[in-house]
């Protein structure tokens, strides 16, 4: 009991420190960045969606490492779970006879719709809310439903991870093409005065590659979880 009281006192002290420092937070923030993006964002990058403009053009360096961290986490998950798979020869967690028939039937109906919606979100990433990361997650969720439809499905994790690494290399190569055409790293490889539709080709290509990579990475993660059995 006394430990809880001490804990609550400590949390209260943290709260007081934050409340005192929050007054300066409003002064630290300024809207200059927002005004710049509003005025030049569309003509610079060719993207209506300003979040995509920042993610795939202004701050592409960040996004590259973001995708790289996903790859590292996938490698970690596989490395941690690897020994169990070989030792126990584990089966999938989903039991075909315990899953309700209604669930399986509706999974078959929903699966193509989810795939189509995922591809829509990926391809329209520069026009509407969404992009490679979000659409890739939707596609990966659709693939997760596939396991409910066919419980005996075998997945070759090694092949998926190899494809994912190749796609990640392709992303880096596509992001670096601008050193040849424009003279700077990690930006759109079309010249700055190209039309908006021309620049959108680069955005769609990069979005598709990132979406593909994220979908493969998440697919690997939950296949590793399913194979843990239990």
């Amino acid at each position: 009991m006394s430990r809880q009281i001490v804990l609550i006192l400590l949390l209260g002290a943290l709260f007081a420190v934050f409340t005192m420092s929050i007054i300066e937070l409003e002064g630290l923030y300024n809207a200059f960045g927002k005004e710049y993006f509003l005025e030049y964002g569309q003509s610079d990058t060719g993207s209506n969606n300003l979040v995509t403009a920042i993610l795939l053009d202004y701050r592409l360096f960040d996004s590259l490492f973001e995708a790289g961290i996903l790859l590292i986490a996938v490698s970690g998950v596989i490395w941690i779970s690897k020994h169990d798979i070989e030792e126990k020869n584990a089966r999938f967690m989903i039991d075909k006879f315990k899953t309700p028939d209604l669930f399986i039937t509706f999974s078959r109906l929903v699966y193509p719709l989810m795939l189509a919606f995922g591809f829509y979100v990926i391809i329209n990433g520069h026009l509407s809310p969404g992009g490679g990361f979000q659409g890739g997650t939707i596609v990966a969720t659709a693939i997760l439903i596939l396991y409910y439809i066919d419980a005996d499905k075998e997945t070759n994790i090694g092949l998926i991870v190899t494809v994912e690494k190749i796609v990640y290399l392709l992303i880096i190569v596509l992001a670096s093409v601008s050193i040849v055409t424009r003279g700077t790293f990690f930006t759109n490889f079309f010249p700055l005065d190209a039309t908006q539709d021309t620049k959108a080709i680069y955005l769609v290509l990069l979005n598709v590659l990132i979406g593909f990579k994220v979908a493969l990475g998440l697919w690997t993660i939950f296949t590793a979880f399913l194979k843990e059995g239990r």
């Binding site: 943290l14 969606n49 973001e66 979880f225």
Partner: protein, 112 residues
Amino acid sequence: MNPILTFLVVLIGFYGLSTSDNVIKSVFSVTIIESGVILLFLNLGNFEGGSVPILSEGVTQIVDPLPQALMITTIVIGSTVTALSLMLCIKVFHHYGTVEWKEVLSREDVKS
């Protein structure tokens, strides 16, 4: 939303992290802390009446797109960290047969 409320979410996560005995609950607490940080950042550029940062005809007042772009990174990294921690929880369960911190630490072969 007030920034102080977002910090309350972070404090709830801290409380859960320090009081929970279950490993999986600790992972959930880390996720709650992360949600508080995400809310704080999204709150920064937000204001009443601002529209989403997607340019179309007639849009003049938008919220700041920069914190939103940064928070995509946070969400992706948070999900991968959660996946890695949960896989470690599975390993702990396979090795010790329990996911309670105190039971694992009271075992003789564990040096705390």
